[in-house]
C-alpha cells in the first residue's frame, strides 16, 4: 500500500523531472560539442606529442627491434659469465642482417651511449661477420672485436631485452649502469647534468630576486602616484612587455657587444679603460633575462598594491609608528601575495628559457632547454632529449600547480 501511494504520488512529476534532466543533458552535450573541435585539436597536436616525448624518456626498443635473435637467446643467459655459443650465433645472425639492412650504425649508436667508443667496433664487426660463413662464432666474434668479449656489453644487451629503460633518466641525474647492471654515479666527464639543473635553478632564482628588487620600488611608485602620472609611467613598463622576446634579446646583443653602446658609453665616461666583457657570459644572461622578466614580476605586485588601502599605514603612523616601521610591519606584509605571485611566475618562466641564453650567454650559461634542443637537433639522441625534457616539464607543472593553489590561473592577465 505504501509503495503504491509513493508511486502514485510521484506519477505526476517523474516525467517532468526526466524531461528536465534530458534537456539539461542535451544542453551539456551541445556545450561540449562546441568545445570538442579545439579539445581534439589540442589533444592531438599538443598533449599526445608531449605524452609521447615523456614516454620516450623511459621507452627504447632499438635493440629489441634490431637484434631480435640475440634478445631471444639472451633470455636464457644468467648474466654471470660470458654467454654461450648459441647467443654468439644469434648475435652473428643479427649482425649479418644489420649489415644487409644498413642498421648496424643504429645498433652501434645505441651501444655507444653506454659504452663510449663502441660505435666503430660494432660497424666494423658487422661488416666482418657478414663474410663469415659458419661457426663456431664465439671465438670468431671476439677476434673481430674485443668488444664482444666484454661482460659490460652483454649486460647492456641483456638490459635491452626490455623495451623500458631507466638509462636516460639516470643519465639526466648523473647516474648510469655499471658493467654488472648496478646503478652507479656517472664518471666525472659524463656527470654534467646535475650542474645544468643547478645552473638553471640558480639563474632562475637570481633573475627572480633581481626583478623583485628592481620591480618592488617601481610597483610601489606606480601604485601610490595619482592616476594620471601612473598611467603615463605604466606605458614605460608595458611597452617592453609587448615587444617580442627575440627583439629584446637582439637589443641586448647590440647594447652589450664589445664595441656596443654600453661599453662605448662607459669608456667615453672614463669609467673603464678597456671594453668590459658583458656578453656571452653570466652577466649578459642575467641582465637580459631580468629585463625581459621585470614586467612579469612587477605587474602582479602592482595589482596587489593597488588594492591596499592607505588608511592602515596612516593608522599605524598616528599610533606612533615611525615611517619605516609602519611600512615594514603594516604595508609590506600586505604585498606578500603579489610578491609570491610575481616571483613564482618569473621563476617558472625562467626555467624554460632558451632563446636568450642561446644568444647572450656563453657555453657555461646554457640552461636545461638548450640541452634538450642540443640532443634533439645535433646529437640526435632523442632518449636523452626526452628524459631532460620530462624532468623540466614535471618541475614546471608541479610549480604551476602550487602557483594555481596560491594565486589562481584565472588571475593571469595579458597586457
Amino acid at each position: 500500500m505504501a509503495t503504491i501511494a509513493a508511486h502514485t504520488g510521484n506519477l505526476e512529476d517523474v516525467p517532468l523531472r526526466l524531461k528536465l534532466r534530458r534537456v539539461e543533458r542535451r544542453q551539456k552535450l551541445k556545450a561540449f560539442i562546441l568545445v570538442l573541435p579545439l579539445l581534439l585539436f589540442v589533444l592531438t597536436t599538443f598533449v599526445l606529442p608531449i605524452g609521447r616525448m615523456m614516454f620516450n624518456a623511459v621507452h627504447d626498443n632499438t635493440l629489441l627491434k634490431l637484434m631480435p635473435r640475440t634478445m631471444r637467446a639472451l633470455d636464457a643467459w644468467d648474466g654471470s659469465d660470458l654467454p654461450g655459443e648459441a647467443v654468439y650465433a644469434a648475435l652473428a645472425g643479427d649482425l649479418k642482417e644489420s649489415s644487409a639492412q644498413r642498421t648496424a650504425s643504429v645498433i652501434g649508436k645505441r651501444i655507444n651511449y653506454e659504452l663510449p667508443g663502441s660505435l666503430s667496433e660494432v660497424i666494423s664487426s658487422a661488416r666482418k661477420v657478414s663474410k663469415l660463413s659458419d661457426g663456431p662464432y664465439r671465438e670468431a666474434l671476439i677476434e673481430t672485436s674485443p668488444l664482444w668479449g666484454q661482460h659490460g656489453v652483454w649486460s647492456l644487451l641483456k638490459r635491452g631485452t626490455s623495451a623500458y629503460t631507466g638509462y636516460y633518466l639516470l643519465r639526466s641525474v648523473d647516474y648510469q649502469y655499471s658493467p654488472d647492471s648496478r646503478i652507479v654515479a656517472s664518471p666525472p666527464e659524463n656527470a654534467i647534468f646535475r650542474d645544468v639543473f643547478l645552473r638553471t635553478l640558480g639563474i632562475s632564482i637570481a633573475v627572480s630576486v633581481v626583478t623583485l628588487l628592481l620591480g618592488f620600488p617601481v610597483a610601489y611608485l606606480l601604485a601610490t602616484l595619482p592616476r594620471k602620472s601612473s598611467n603615463l609611467l605604466m606605458i614605460l613598463v608595458v611597452l617592453p612587455f609587448w615587444t617580442s622576446v627575440l627583439v629584446r634579446t637582439t637589443a641586448w646583443v647590440v647594447l652589450l657587444q664589445q664595441h656596443g653602446v654600453v661599453n662605448d658609453t662607459l669608456m667615453a665616461l672614463h669609467v673603464i679603460s678597456q671594453p668590459a666583457e658583458l656578453i656571452y657570459n653570466r652577466i649578459g644572461t642575467i641582465v637580459a633575462m631580468s629585463h625581459i622578466q621585470l614586467p612579469v614580476t612587477l605587474l602582479p605586485i602592482y595589482s596587489v598594491m593597488k588594492t591596499i588601502s592607505p588608511i592602515y599605514v596612516r593608522a599605524a603612523r598616528s599610533l606612533g609608528a615611525g615611517p619605516f616601521y609602519a611600512f615594514w610591519k603594516v604595508y609590506f606584509p600586505q604585498t606578500l601575495p603579489g610578491i609570491a605571485a610575481g616571483c613564482l611566475l618569473t621563476f617558472i618562466l625562467c626555467l624554460g628559457y632558451y632563446i636568450t641564453p642561446a644568444l647572450v650567454g656563453g657555453p657555461a650559461d646554457q640552461m636545461v632547454s638548450s640541452f634538450v634542443a642540443h640532443y634533439t637537433n645535433e646529437e640526435l639522441n632523442w632518449g636523452m632529449a626526452s628524459a631532460l625534457g620530462a624532468i623540466l616539464l614535471t618541475a614546471t607543472l608541479l610549480l604551476y600547480y602550487f602557483f594555481n593553489k596560491l594565486v589562481g590561473v584565472d588571475r593571469i592577465k595579458m597586457g
Binding site: F41, F46, P49, N56, L239, T250, P323, A373, G389
Partner: protein
C-alpha cells in the same frame, strides 16, 4: 606617496632615493628599445653613437632582398592562416565553455590553455618527434598547426573574458521571438563578442608572427619566417638589417597591442563594467 611637508629629513632623503631608483629602473626597461631603434637608421654598419648620418639603406635591404622578403611573406602567410584557424576554434570553444553547467570545466580549461604553460622547448621537441612520424616536418601545414596550438589559448581566454557577464537571456529572447540558433548567434551573440574575437585574433596573429623556437624545430628552409631569419642572423653576425627587422616587429607589436587595449577598453565601457 608624496613626501609631506612635515616629513623628517631622513624621510625626504628616502623619498628622493626611491624616486631616483625608480627612474633608473624605468630607464633600464625602456632604454634598450629606444637606444637600438635609431641604430637601424645609421648610414654605416656600426652600432655606436653618434650616428654619422641617417640613412634608410637597411630598410631598403630589408624590403628588397629576396631572403628578407621571402621571410616577411612567409611570416604573414603563416600568421594569417593561424589567425583564421585559431579564431574559429577558440571562439567555438569559448562559447561552449561559457555555457552554464559545462561538464569538467576546470579540467578541460586546463588542457586548452596548457600550451602557454609548458616550456616552449618541450612543446617544440614534442611536436618535432610527432611531426617526424606523421610527415609534417618542414611543411607549411605543420608550421601553421603548431602555431595554431600556441595561439588558440589566447583566443579562448580573450573571448571568454568578453563572455563573462554576457546576458544569456538575450539569446533566449531572440529564440523566443522565433530566431533559429544560427540567426540568434549571428544577430545577437556575434556583435556582442566581436571586440573580444578581434582582440583574440590579434593576439593569435602576434603569437605566430613573433614565434621562433617551435619554428626553428619544425620548419624547413622553405618556411623561414622573419624571427627565424633574425635568430640565425644574430647567431652568425648581427647586421643593421636585423635591427631594421626588429624595429618593424616592435612597431607591429605596439600597433596591434594598442588596438587590443582600445578594443578592451571600449568593450568594457559598452558593457558598463568600467564607467569611465
Amino acid at each position: 606617496m608624496a613626501a609631506s611637508a612635515y616629513a623628517s629629513p631622513m624621510e625626504k632623503t628616502w623619498y628622493c632615493l626611491h624616486r631616483m631608483l625608480c627612474a633608473m629602473v624605468l630607464l633600464f626597461l625602456i632604454a634598450p628599445i629606444f637606444v637600438v631603434v635609431p641604430l637601424s637608421f645609421n648610414s654605416v654598419p656600426f652600432f655606436t653613437y653618434p650616428l654619422p648620418r641617417l640613412s634608410l639603406r637597411w630598410y631598403q635591404d630589408f624590403f628588397l632582398t629576396v631572403r628578407w622578403q621571402g621571410a616577411l611573406y612567409n611570416s604573414i602567410f603563416v600568421a594569417v592562416s593561424v589567425t583564421l584557424l585559431s579564431t574559429v576554434l577558440g571562439t567555438l570553444a569559448a562559447l561552449g565553455l561559457s555555457r552554464p553547467k559545462f561538464p569538467w570545466r576546470t579540467a578541460v580549461m586546463t588542457v586548452l590553455i596548457s600550451p602557454i604553460i609548458v616550456p616552449i622547448v618541450i612543446t617544440a621537441v614534442g611536436m618535432y618527434f610527432f611531426y617526424a612520424d606523421v610527415g609534417l616536418l618542414n611543411s607549411y601545414a605543420g608550421l601553421v598547426l603548431a602555431h595554431t596550438t600556441l595561439a588558440t589559448p589566447f583566443v579562448v581566454i580573450t573571448v571568454l573574458a568578453t563572455l563573462t557577464g554576457f546576458d544569456h537571456s538575450l539569446t533566449r529572447a531572440a529564440a523566443g521571438l522565433g530566431a533559429t540558433p544560427v540567426t540568434a548567434f549571428l544577430k545577437v551573440t556575434l556583435p556582442l563578442i566581436l571586440p573580444g574575437m578581434i582582440s583574440g585574433s590579434l593576439f593569435a596573429f602576434l603569437t605566430s608572427f613573433d614565434e621562433v623556437v617551435v619554428t626553428l624545430f619544425v620548419a624547413g628552409a622553405e618556411q623561414r619566417t622573419l624571427p627565424k631569419v633574425m635568430f640565425s642572423g644574430i647567431r652568425e653576425e648581427i647586421s643593421p638589417t636585423i635591427i631594421a627587422a626588429a624595429t618593424i616587429l616592435t612597431l607591429f607589436s605596439i600597433v596591434v597591442l594598442t588596438t587590443i587595449e582600445l578594443l578592451r577598453w571600449r568593450s568594457e565601457r559598452l558593457r558598463g563594467i568600467r564607467n569611465t
